[in-house]
Symmetry: C2
Subunit: 249 residues, 2 copies
DNA sequence: CGGCTATTTGAGTCTAGTCAAAGCCTGTGG
DNA sequence: CCACAGGCTTTGACTAGACTCAAATAGCCG
């Protein structure tokens, strides 16, 4: 738990509660993601091998190259997953939120890093223990395969974006996709409250901060979005946004 | 089986033999990939639900958007998987060869297209039947989860490449990675016999044909590789190639 | 009210894309 | 066996979209 790899350090995690089945009762992710595949008694068993953990904003909780001893399931908050090059270039491979499972992209060691964008609460599972859970509840393993399938689809979509789309198309794709995840409407326009900075966006979309800013300006001038303060973006013309993101016009 | 989606058409496939257990005896993929997870008698059962199929060079055998009724396991040959944008831009998401499993990135429909780069032989499994196999042999399902995990790692590595690496770094990464897959040595130099064209390479690496050509010229001038005829590339300085591909030099 | 960071905007540069043409290979057919 | 057609690859010249560097602005937090 105190492993030091490169210049990074495994973040100390704050254990709030362990082994309590009631921890699922008010979990944001209870009815999505992995846990939704379980009946109440199965969930009880799963909870018995889970450790609930809180991670403060900005804290890294997975370091690439560290031995992959644990899986995580996010209950609350958003985190970024990323891969770095030796000279500091970073590619964010995904943003994860409530219900998302972390740790599939690992063999003996984690093949990615993870850091909280907001205060994050998650359930941590020991890999060895989870294997025992699989043996008892094949439904979980099957669900995990579905999760992996879905992540593969997302990953390939992202390859298309990174390899072939223009800056404006990338930003439109992202906003469109994020809109599907967390949508709150207000006066007809969908209002996105993004947990990430422009820099995170740039590292996710294979661009620079400046290009992100200019692309948003372009979409704003076209009346597709409105850019507000504090990472708020309103989607004024959803159909147009989708079309741009999918390179249909 | 005669579905027409967009302007593409499901390729007619040539059934060579069906339901014969002996078909595994001389399969290139018998001891790699999915089938390696099985004991002989389990394999016998798996073979009973497999259809062996031959696909000619250049023929597409999966169309994005078609109902995903089948999984495939490649026995021999190489194919490309890809996603297209409406205006023709294409991103190849991966090359698959003997032992590779195709079809994980699908829900109700395939989320990618596939086309043979060389004559391909594969085993085709009906999705419903494969589910029955899972129930009987959990080992296969577990192996499939490992396969999906591994593909996720590869996909994220590719995102790093597409989002953050330069043209020369991308080409070096590719040659380095391909060298690990199929390596035949000759006079100290590893000789790669690529089944894909420069255009395929470009569509895989998020570049254009011309840029691929120039990047190869750069690596050649640096004495890292030798570029021969008929898609043959010799790796003269493997260490340097790896370093360039991982942006360490 | 500052101090700090994040974001936007501007000016100039550079990497990779586009357009064009020549060279090579392959495979075919005389 | 050689000539030719067609596709693939390489090279050159120019362009463009995104990056870099720099500075101004805006927002957040104590």
């Amino acid at each position: 738990m105190q492993n030091t790899i490169g210049s990074l350090r495994r973040a100390p995690v704050n254990v709030v509660a362990g082994g309590v089945p009631e921890l699922c009762a008010q979990c944001d992710a209870r009815h999505i993601g992995l846990c939704d595949a379980l009946h109440d008694d199965d969930l009880h068993f799963l909870a018995s091998v889970a450790q609930q953990v809180s991670i403060e904003k900005g804290r890294g909780f997975v370091t690439e190259g560290d031995p992959a001893r644990q899986f995580f399931n996010i209950n609350h908050g958003t985190a970024k997953l990323f891969k770095d090059l030796p000279d500091g270039r970073r590619q964010i491979t995904g943003f994860v939120g409530a219900g998302d499972f972390i740790g599939l992209a690992a063999n003996a060691t984690y093949m990615f890093g993870a850091e909280a964008l907001e205060p994050v609460q998650l359930c941590s599972f020991d890999r060895a223990e989870l294997r025992a859970v699989f043996a008892r509840f094949p439904a979980i393993e099957r669900r995990l395969l579905d999760v992996a399938s879905h992540e593969l689809i997302i990953a390939q979509e992202q390859m298309l974006l990174l390899g072939r789309k223009t800056a404006v198309e990338r930003v439109a794709s992202f906003l469109d996709g994020w809109g599907l995840r967390v949508a709150s409407c207000q006066g007809g326009a969908t209002r996105l409250d993004l947990p990430m900075t422009r820099n995170d966006l740039a590292e996710y979309l294979g661009l620079t901060v400046e290009t992100i800013s200019r692309a948003l300006a372009t979409l704003r001038k076209q009346g597709v979005v409105a850019v507000g303060a504090d990472h708020v973006i309103s989607i004024l013309n959803p159909a147009r946004l989708t079309a741009i993101g999918q390179a249909e016009g």
